[in-house]
């Protein structure tokens, strides 16, 4: 496949898995979407497949942005490295997880723990019942999990997962293609 197709594929599968996970739904704790059955409404309101929340934020919320980067190839250009970068951003008033009993982590830490448990070490993306699972060449590994202040009153946690994909130039009309 084309190298860049993995960009959209990873985002689609990861978002699909997040919105089907009730623990993550509760952890995001949308003030406007209270029913898990409507968790698809999190997309473009609390989960964005690009590095921006395009709306002026007028409520204390938690939101997530996903980006996929292909910074460079490696292994003599046989594979390309694909990085999934997830930002979890919460208003400071949302940091306490007071909607889920017994959680003493702050909200960003808790969501990152759930995402780590869910995706770290995975060799495919897509839910169990997904007939079009995205098979990975190797595993999706968490390589970075850092935190900080995003802007006044907003805190973030940044997670970076890495995986690899076959370099498109080996196939089709590429360098070694026919």
């Amino acid at each position: 496949m084309a190298n860049s197709s993995i960009v959209g594929d990873i985002k689609t599968k990861v978002i699909s898995e997040i919105i089907q996970d009730e623990d993550l739904f509760r952890a995001i704790n949308s003030p406007t979407i209270s029913s898990f059955e409507a968790s698809d409404k999190l997309v473009n309101t609390h989960i964005f497949r690009f590095d921006q929340n395009p709306d002026v934020v007028e409520k204390t919320i938690t939101f997530i942005t996903l980006q996929v980067h292909i910074p460079r190839s490696y292994s003599d250009n046989t594979f390309v490295k694909a990085q999934l970068e997830i930002f979890i951003i919460s208003h400071v008033d949302c940091m306490k997880v007071n909607n889920i009993p017994k959680i003493i982590d702050n909200r960003n830490d808790y969501i990152s723990r759930l995402l780590d448990n869910k995706f770290n070490g995975r060799t495919y993306l897509g839910t169990e019942d997904d007939p079009n699972k995205l098979q990975l060449y190797g595993s999706l590994d968490l390589v970075r999990n850092t935190e900080g202040a995003y802007r006044k009153y907003y805190l973030y946690r940044q997670m970076v997962f890495e995986t690899k994909d076959v370099n498109d130039s080996l196939c089709d009309g590429g360098k070694y293609g026919g």
Partner: protein, 342 residues
């Protein structure tokens, strides 16, 4: 002739010089003719009926009025004037009150409401100014933007407003709007016009900066007059401990006081107080503490006090019951919930 009597009939009683006598006479004449002008109006000042001369501002600022009152009818900074069904705030006075009292009042445009520490809802009408004249209304970076607006709000200095601290939030929007804009107190200037040290009142100017609506904390509540208003960071007034009615056999009323939320890992003290049917404290009551819990609760008893501690963070959100037992009977109990330290 009695000199005091003579001074009284000459309108000079209490004066020490001809100058003072003339001043008294001027003030008496002013009072006599105060209502001769169309500008003199019946108003309420801080709830009391008064006469006030209300004169249009020479600069054409219709929200600002020059005011005068008779020498004996002093008004102070921060007094509210109700006139024409409008709320006006006295924001300038001439502290020299030799003759009549002079000052300026400004038209208030919004009721500022908040909840004090005891849970009581406080309301003060505020004179508001735009402190963000050249902002687009949003601020942020490439990744996210939030609202950007600041109001300058002038209110009186009083026993409630002096307790206002930075970060307290207020709803500031049109009445009846579904979800109002909320603002956070980011600055308070309390000593630009504070004449309290010589008894003439004071006003403070607050800077309120835009803050996000918090659906979990900001609530619509019903006031005593039946109106529904938004209150930021609303908390129910603390429930006082309910004493169990005096037992017929003991005539004792027993109240346990202490925090109902026990942070795990911390010792907290709980105290019991015994009173008889006449309300007198009983100090020599023979009783015992009892903790009913499914998990370990560390207990250190010391007379009418008991210190409790839960060390297991897995018990957060679980509860136990603290009881006071007298003659094998439970005379008071308190349910305590283990909470997080964060």
């Amino acid at each position: 002739m009695d000199i005091d009597y003579y001074m009284k009939i000459q309108n000079a009683y209490g004066t020490k010089s001809k100058r003072e006598k003339d001043l008294v006479k001027v003030n008496q004449n002013m009072a006599k003719h105060f209502e001769d002008t169309f500008d003199t109006e019946d108003v309420m000042i801080n709830g009391s009926p008064k006469k006030l001369m209300i004169i249009k501002d020479t600069d054409g600022n219709v929200f600002k009025k020059k005011i005068k009152s008779c020498h004996d009818d002093k008004f102070n900074l921060g007094d509210y004037v109700i006139w024409n069904n409008q709320h006006w705030l006295i924001m300038a006075i001439d502290p020299d009150g030799k003759t009549w009292n002079r000052g300026y009042m400004y038209l208030c445009s919004l009721p500022l409401r908040w909840q004090n520490f005891e849970g009581k809802i406080i309301e003060r009408w505020a004179y508001s100014e735009d402190f963000t004249k050249y902002s687009s209304g949003v601020v942020g970076n490439d990744k996210m933007q939030v609202g950007d607006n600041q109001y300058g709000l002038t209110i009186p200095i009083d026993s409630e407003t002096v307790k206002l601290k930075r970060d307290i939030r207020f709803p500031i929007d049109c009445e009846g709007v579904e979800i109002p804009d909320f603002y956070k107190l980011s600055n308070r200037k309390s000593n630009l016009s504070n004449y309290e040290y010589f008894g003439r009142g004071g006003i403070m100017t607050l800077t309120a900066s835009y803050a996000e609506f918090n659906p979990e904390k900001d609530k619509k509540v019903t006031l005593d007059d039946g109106s529904n208003v938004w209150i930021a960071d609303y908390h129910s007034p603390a429930d006082p401990p309910t004493p169990i009615p005096p037992d017929e056999t003991t005539d004792l009323s027993v109240v346990i006081t202490g925090n109902r939320g026990l942070k795990f890992g911390f010792l907290r003290t709980y105290t019991v107080k015994f009173t008889d049917k006449d309300g007198n404290e009983v100090t020599d009551c023979d009783f015992e503490w009892k903790v009913i819990s499914d998990f370990p609760v560390e207990q250190v008893e010391n007379g009418n006090e008991i210190k409790l501690k839960v060390n297991d963070e897995n018990r957060i959100d679980e509860s136990f019951v603290l009881q006071v037992i007298v003659n094998d009977k439970v005379l008071s109990s308190l349910t305590v919930t283990v909470i997080s330290i964060f």
